[in-house]
């Protein structure tokens, strides 16, 4: 047992501590008068309450209200509200130091113990004292309520412990809530009683301590009391209804014991005192279990958390919050199974059906006080390694029972144990053990003998599994991937000290968990990301998609291998993740109970799909889930998927920004119109210009009335009309400059001159006019100015006047060639969605093709496969079951020399002379020897014997049609395994009884299983029949007949079924052949007409499925009716009605019957006697009436007229008509 410190504070001497029942808070009452409120999980000081004068000793949280109570050497009891952070009121009354205060669990009461030798009970609602318990004749050091009953226990310096009965007090305060509203008169009436001490009477006085008693507490459930005193003893007391007595004493403290409590869940007592130690005692044996010592600090107080596995102790320089044991159960996940240790049992949980069974007792393992720390499971040998920290680390190797469903068993065989701090399986038959002190790694085999031992390459704290023969060695600052066989470091990655290692299901990725970091790396330890957590990381598991899900103390979070992480949900209590499947996270909670927590994986799946560029998935998630929110948009934008983000945004401004970012002008224009703000248009203009879409540029310039730019864009696009318009606008606006420059763009000299004149720039106007040779205007200007040409000196111009820029081509409405904007997958998909729904855009040809392929190929086969396998498994189960029960377990491992040749071979090996060994029995030969079924002989390639069997059993004579069948069966019985390099491959034979332990009983795999024929093939054949594809249907039934010949079944029942199926096939082949014959008739001569009707009639004589018979009858009835064979038609109509046909058909049948009533005659006489039972000759298609001589096919039993004896059957095409057959054998 160890003290696992969770939190430690430094402060003045702590005299009282109290846990908050729900939140991670603890109150410390200090000797300097201060009260501190700490968050022990975050390690922060939340609050200080500084109102007591002198040391505070008693402190207690209210179980439900936001209250706490404190008391100290200032004789005061203060009740505080921690939400409003103030003292609500003070209870005065004690006349000396108050030692302890506690709330009642139910009533609004507070109990206090004081050096004034009294115990007082207060009502904190009415804020007055309701009882004073007198009797102790020295300081009362401690007084507590019983957690359930109306009892109080107190400890005093008078050497006694007293138990008080306060049921009287409770009765008087039946409705304690009412107290606050009680009228003053009633309260006055109560007062005298209170001091009469009738409400609380001493029940027992426990004497036994030799010195003052410092502390006493009740057991939470049992009638036990523990006390601690200055006589350095901890005493255990028991009580019943009438008396109380001392049970035993725990001796060991060598100074005053100040506090002693019961462990709330386990059979322990905890005590501490001035000898600077906290001690743990076994409650039943009263022996010391553990001692935790400190050098400096005397312990003053000890308390247990009301709900969690936590303790707190106050000492001279602060307080510590600690645990006595790890709550993390030792567990390991293997495929669909979780193995974990709970309550000294190894449990196996099957995730698929959620069955949880204790499978092995580990009571005898390790130390009774210590939980195992880790577990390693070996599926090949069904064994586990359990390590615990006992004696500096020990491991045990245990064999699991074969079957996990039974009762938990005691470990079988010897328990193999040894010392080592961690032990893991590294191969089927090897495990590695780390001896941390000597820094040795030993490789041991299953009998626990060392096969290899070597020094660690560097200081190693722990080892983990890393695939066969490899280990991950956790060093203080790195993790090393180490090859055990080669003793070689393969890779190393720098990390903080790693505590847990979690491999992904396919072992391709690994998560290394440290206290505050998670490192994700691939199997070669190349880091792909590192995540820091401020809160401690507890455990994790890989999602199937390759996302690592982990939990901290209070969150379930995810991290993508690329480094993105986020919170999935919050947690009330820490849990240990075992597996992630879909929307469920399997966990073990702190009590070791497996649970499933629901999560929403959408967010991380979405992100993963984005990172992996699996856009179909992204699209699917967008369409089907309700992902919203700023964070996802920001994420998408940050990650460079503005086009995806666009999809999520409804807000115009953001939409616009995103549209600009991904260059989607369409959306940008649309949103810009909606927003219609200057800066938006400017931005749009810039983006449009960048892309070269001058139409949008024009629009945005128009919107912001940027005339100059607008003019310029018109100029360079050669849009003269618009430029003219711009000039007009400029004129209207009175913007002369703009007018001028538009005129300049337009090369409109007249306009310029006119403008210059209008603004009074006559010299300029003149100059312009003159320059461009506008003589009239020039003179006009001169005239208006009253000047003559001579008065003006014109500057000399050397060059030709400037020509304005002219666009070579007027683009008009057309745009410039646009900058290619990469249209992403999403935009395509989204736009496609807008147009014509979801499908066509991204279901590319492949999918369709694949779908088609599957449809063609599978034909409901998958279901069949499963069926087939189930049955096979059942058979195997039966076989193995038999093995276990009946002691047939012939283990060939122990096999003695199997063949006499061994000795001979050995002799040969001994002598140097080489004698070639004679070949052994080939498996094909074994098969032939083991089975008399034709199909098995075919599988073995022994075609001759197979044919003999078939000939004998079923009279088969025409084997030609069976050739493909033979070969396909034969080719599927052997597989090829590449063995040595460049050497030919070895063939292996496939067995159907692959669970049989002795290969000498081997039987070949079943190629054409009866299930397949009777379900898939038959359905196909029926479907073809129904669809009117008679030729194909006939072929199908024939092929089934032939296949059945070579099938192998398990037992007689199935063999009977095969016989029935043969019957069905034969009837259909016969019927369908007649139908085909009928259809091929020309229907011209009367003979042909007669033959046609006869064939139709015979068809109805076949044993068909009702729906097919219906069709046959319908066709026969209609044909007869048409050919005016009314009487026969009526006969078929009647039979048709018997089959309960659909209404339409029934109506037709009734009409025929009605017609027959009027005219019951046949136009053509048929060879068809409806009253005489008959069968149809399969060769001539003529009836063989009962009693007439006939002969049948030796295999399918088709009937023939005797003329056909010795021919090949027309139905099955393989057997001889009238041949001898002993009957087909179909099972071994």
């Amino acid at each position: 047992m160890r003290m696992l410190t969770k939190f430690e504070s430094k402060s003045n001497r702590v005299k009282g501590v109290a846990f908050h029942p729900k939140r991670p808070w603890i109150l410390a009452a200090l000797h300097n008068g201060c009260i501190q409120l700490w968050d022990y999980r975050m390690g922060t000081l939340l609050e200080r309450f500084d109102e007591h004068d002198g040391p505070v000793r008693g402190i207690s949280f209210h179980p439900t209200q936001p209250l706490f109570v404190s008391a100290g050497d200032d004789y005061k009891i203060k009740v505080w509200n921690y939400k409003s952070r103030r003292c609500l009121f003070t209870l005065n009354g004690h006349l000396d130091y108050v030692r302890t205060v506690f709330f009642h669990h139910e009533y609004p009461w507070i109990i206090s113990a004081s050096d004034d030798q009294t115990i007082r009970i207060w009502n904190w609602q009415s804020r007055n004292c309701i009882a004073i318990l007198t009797g102790h004749n020295h300081y009362v050091m401690c007084a507590q309520f019983h957690p359930k009953e109306d009892l109080v226990v107190s400890a005093s310096m008078d050497l006694t412990v007293r138990v008080w009965d306060i049921s009287g007090l409770r009765k008087k305060n039946q409705a304690p809530q009412a107290n606050a509203y009680e009228d003053p008169f009633m309260r006055q009436n109560q007062q005298p009683d209170l001091f009469g001490n009738t409400d609380a009477v001493v029940k027992y006085v426990l004497e036994g301590h030799d010195r003052g008693v410092n502390w006493v507490s009740f057991h939470p459930t049992l009638p036990l009391i523990v006390s601690a005193g200055d006589d350095r003893q901890v005493k255990l007391w028991r009580m019943n209804d009438t008396k109380a007595w001392e049970v035993d004493t725990c001796r060991g403290h060598f100074n005053n014991v100040l506090c002693a409590i019961f462990h709330p869940r386990q059979e322990f007592i905890l005590s501490n005192g001035e000898d600077k130690s906290v001690r743990v005692w076994d409650m039943s044996k009263r022996t010391a279990v553990a001692t935790f010592r400190r050098d400096q600090d005397r312990f003053w107080i000890l308390t247990a958390h009301p709900e969690l596995n936590l303790f707190a102790a106050g000492h001279d320089n602060g307080l510590i919050v600690f645990k006595l044991e790890r709550e993390r159960p030792a567990y390991q996940v293997y495929q669909n199974q979780l193995f974990y240790v709970k309550d000294k049992f190894l449990h196996a949980l099957d995730f698929t059906n959620n069955t949880d069974n204790p499978i092995l007792s580990i009571r005898k393992s390790g130390n009774q006080y210590t939980q195992p720390r880790s577990l390693s499971y070996n599926p090949a040998e069904k064994a586990v390694l359990i390590t615990s920290t006992v004696d500096g680390g020990t491991y045990e190797l245990l064999n699991l029972p074969k079957d996990f469903s039974g009762e938990a068993s005691e470990p079988s065989g010897d328990i193999r144990r040894g010392s080592g701090s961690s032990a893991v399986f590294i191969a089927r038959n090897r495990f590695a053990v780390l001896d941390a002190t000597n820094q040795q790694i030993q490789v041991r085999d299953l009998s626990n003998t060392v096969t290899k031992s070597f020094k660690t390459p560097t200081q190693v704290n722990e080892i983990f599994y890393a695939g066969t023969s490899n280990l991950l060695l956790a060093t203080p600052n790195s993790v090393i991937l180490y090859d055990v066989q080669q003793r070689r470091t393969i890779a190393e990655i720098n990390t903080p000290p790693v505590k847990y290692v979690i491999w992904s299901n396919d072992m391709s990725m690994v998560a290394l968990l440290s206290k505050h970091t998670i490192t994700i790396a691939n199997k070669n330890l190349e880091q792909s990301c590192l995540t820091h957590e401020t809160i401690r990381v507890k455990s994790g598991a890989w999602d199937d998609a390759g996302v690592f899900i982990y939990c901290t103390l209070n969150h379930i979070k995810y991290v993508l291998p690329q480094g993105d992480n986020g919170i999935i949900r919050t947690l009330e209590q820490p849990v240990y993740l075992t597996r992630v499947k879909g929307k469920g996270v399997h966990v073990l909670d702190r009590d070791g109970k497996p649970r499933v927590i629901a999560i929403d994986p959408t967010e991380y799946r979405f992100k993963l799909a984005l990172v992996k560029k699996n856009f179909d998935e992204v699209l699917h998630i967008i369409r089907t889930s309700n992902l919203v929110g700023q964070s996802i948009i920001a994420y998408l934008q940050k990650k460079g998927y503005p086009e995806v983000a666009l999809h999520f945004v409804r807000e115009e401004k953001t939409r616009f920004e995103l549209a600009i970012e991904c260059g989607n002008l369409e959306v940008a224009v649309e949103t810009a119109k909606a927003i219609d703000k200057q800066e938006i248009w400017i931005k749009l203009g810039m983006e449009a210009l960048r892309q070269g879409n001058h139409q949008v540029v024009e629009m945005s310039y128009q919107r912001v009335q940027n005339f100059d730019r607008l003019s310029f864009i018109y100029l360079i696009t050669g849009n003269k009309d618009k430029l003219n318009k711009m000039m007009k606008i400029a004129e209207l606006r009175g913007d002369q400059m703009s007018r001028f420059h538009n005129a300049l763009y337009l090369d409109d000299v007249a306009e310029r001159v006119k403008l210059l004149r209008e603004v009074g720039q006559l010299p300029m106007a003149y100059l312009t006019a003159k320059t461009y040779g506008m003589v009239e205007e020039a003179e006009e200007i001169l005239a208006s100015a009253g000047m003559t040409e001579e008065e003006i000196t014109l500057p000399q111009m050397e060059q030709q006047p400037l020509q304005p820029v002219k666009a070579l081509q007027n683009f008009g409405n057309a745009n410039w060639p646009l900058l290619p904007v990469a249209e992403s997958f999403f935009e395509r998909a989204f736009s496609a969605e807008g147009q014509n729904g979801y499908h066509d855009a991204e279901t590319n040809g492949f999918d369709d093709l694949a779908a088609e392929w599957e449809a063609r190929d599978d034909f409901g086969m998958s279901a069949l496969d499963i069926n087939g396998r189930d049955v096979e498994e059942d058979i195997d189960m039966a076989l193995t079951g038999g093995n276990e029960d009946g002691g047939w377990d012939l283990d060939i491992d122990v096999s003695v020399p199997m063949e006499p040749e061994v000795a001979e071979a050995e002799a040969a090996a001994a002598s140097t002379e080489f004698v070639a060994p004679t070949p052994g029995l080939n498996e094909s030969a074994i098969w032939v020897g083991n089975s008399a079924v034709a199909g098995d002989h075919v599988a073995a390639g022994s075609f001759e014997t197979a044919m003999q069997i078939l000939n004998r059993q079923a009279g088969i004579v025409n084997f030609a049609p069976l050739k493909p069948l033979f070969l396909s069966i034969y080719q599927a019985t052997r597989v090829s395994l590449p063995a040595n390099a460049s050497a030919p491959s070895i063939f292996y034979h496939l067995r159907r009884n692959y669970n049989d332990q002795d290969y000498r009983r081997a039987l070949p795999v079943t190629v054409n299983s009866f299930e397949k024929i009777s379900t898939r093939d038959l359905q196909v054949a029926y479907a073809l029949t129904k669809g009117g594809k008679f030729q194909n249907a006939t072929a199908q039934f024939k092929s089934m007949l032939q296949t059945l010949l070579l099938t192998v079944v398990a037992n007689q029942t199935e063999a009977e079924e095969v016989k029935q199926l043969i019957h069905v096939c034969r009837e259909y082949v016969l019927g369908l052949s007649m139908e085909q014959a009928r259809r091929s008739l020309a229907q011209e001569s009367p003979e042909e007409n007669q033959r046609m009707l006869e064939l139709a009639a015979y068809f109805t004589n076949c044993d068909l499925q009702p729906q097919h018979l219906q069709l046959a009858l319908q066709s026969a009835a209609q044909l007869c009716f048409k050919k005016e064979n009314i009487s026969s038609a009526a006969f078929f109509a009647r039979r048709l009605l018997e089959t309960n046909p659909p209404p339409k058909v029934a109506q037709m049948a009734r009409q025929i019957q009605a017609a027959a009533d009027r005219n019951p005659n046949d136009a053509i006489s048929l060879d068809f006697d409806q009253f005489n039972p008959f069968t149809v000759c399969a060769a001539s298609f003529t009836p063989i009436y009962k009693g007439s001589p006939s002969i049948q096919c030796s295999y399918c039993s088709a009937q023939y007229k005797t003329d056909y004896e010795g021919t090949v059957c027309k139905v099955c095409e393989v057997a001889k008509v009238g041949g001898n057959a002993s009957g087909l054998r179909l099972f071994v």
Binding site: A380, R430, K452, G467, Q485, Q486, R487, K523, N524, R856, D857, D865, I892, M898, E901, A905, T912, F914, A916, P917, G920, L921, E923, G941, F943, E944, M947, V957, F959, A960, K963, F966, L967, S968, Q971, A972, R974, V975, S976, P978, N980, A981, S982, A983, P984, S985, I986, F987, Y988, L990, R991, Y994, Y999, V1005, V1007, K1012, R1016, T1207, V1208, K1216
Partner: protein
């Protein structure tokens, strides 16, 4: 294993059929190897090249070699090359040469040469001669592996198991030794299938194990256990690696037949197999059986 095997990794890669990796590993190790290991590494390298079908490269290197190992390699490469191009005469000649070399008394000192020569003989169907060639073998993993194959081919499971247990004494759980266990387990069946499964699974988990050899071994194992979907995924993976590998094609054909795939698919595999490996025993065997069928069927007379 007292001294660390310098060629440990090479041996494993070779056993896994990861021939390209063998060559790379040798190239990276070369400078650090001792002389003896160098010699052996050379054999591995050439055998890998032969397995990869790069005969000319090998022949170029060993053309003038006089050591037994080099001569053996040369025989193997020449034989395989002739086989690939169906030159029967050369094949015969090389087999004769190999038989001659196998008689050499000094051969005992060169287990690798023994294995190579035995491989040539085995390829020519001379199982007894091949066994004779490696009869006097020392503690050499590759020799044992070949011996086990030979015993299995002779259907002498007893001898194969004996070899296997002998190997246990000195080879422990070296990867080639485990592989040979698996070969034997696959013949034994029953629980041993599961053991073989674990062995192959371990291989598959190791690096560089995505080879035709391992994938096919796994597929064979799954097929033996009638776990067809799993077998299919292995074979698909193998087909992706090399769509013309005879083993993969055979196993795919078997799987397709067992899972009742359409005839179209099975015949696709058959024709592809006949195309890439017309001389493959499996193909030969099927042809023979077809003939056998015709012969046997002809015995039964049918009156028309």
């Amino acid at each position: 294993m007292e001294s660390v095997d310098e060629l440990f990794a090479v041996r494993n890669l070779f056993a896994l059929g990861s021939y390209r990796a063998v060559i790379n590993e040798i190239a990276s190790l070369r400078s650090t190897l001792s002389d003896a290991a160098q010699q052996e590494a050379m054999v591995f390298q050439y055998r890998s090249l032969v397995a990869l079908g790069e005969f000319d490269k090998v022949l170029q290197d060993v053309a003038t070699g006089t050591s037994l190992e080099q001569q053996a390699i040369k025989a193997l490469a020449t034989y395989e090359k002739a086989k690939a191009s169906h030159v029967a005469a050369t094949m015969e000649a090389e087999v004769e040469k190999a038989q001659e070399l196998a008689q050499d008394e000094a051969l005992e000192e060169f287990p690798n040469a023994q294995v190579v020569l035995a491989t040539v003989l085995l390829n020519h169907g001379l199982v007894d001669d091949a066994l004779a060639a490696i009869h006097k073998r020392s503690k050499h993993l590759e020799s044992s592996a070949l011996a086990v194959q030979l015993y299995l081919q002779l259907d002498r499971l007893d001898l194969a198991r004996k070899e296997m247990s002998d190997l246990k004494h000195w080879a422990e759980d070296a990867m080639p030794a485990q592989m040979l266990d698996a070969w034997v387990y696959l013949r034994l069946g029953g629980d041993k299938y599961q053991q073989a499964f674990y062995i192959f699974e371990e291989f598959a988990q190791s690096n560089n194990a995505n080879t035709l050899k391992v994938l096919n071994s796994q597929a064979v194992n799954y097929l033996a256990l009638a776990q067809y979907p799993e077998a299919e995924s292995c074979l698909q993976e193998a087909l992706r690696l090399n769509s013309n590998d005879p083993d993969t094609l055979i196993n795919s054909l078997v799987l397709a037949t067992l899972t009742n795939k359409s005839e179209e698919i099975t015949s696709k595999y058959t024709s592809q197999l006949k195309q890439v490996a017309p001389e493959h025993p499996f193909v030969h065997d099927l042809d023979q059986k077809a003939n056998l069928f015709d012969r046997a069927a002809a015995k039964y007379t049918v009156s028309a």
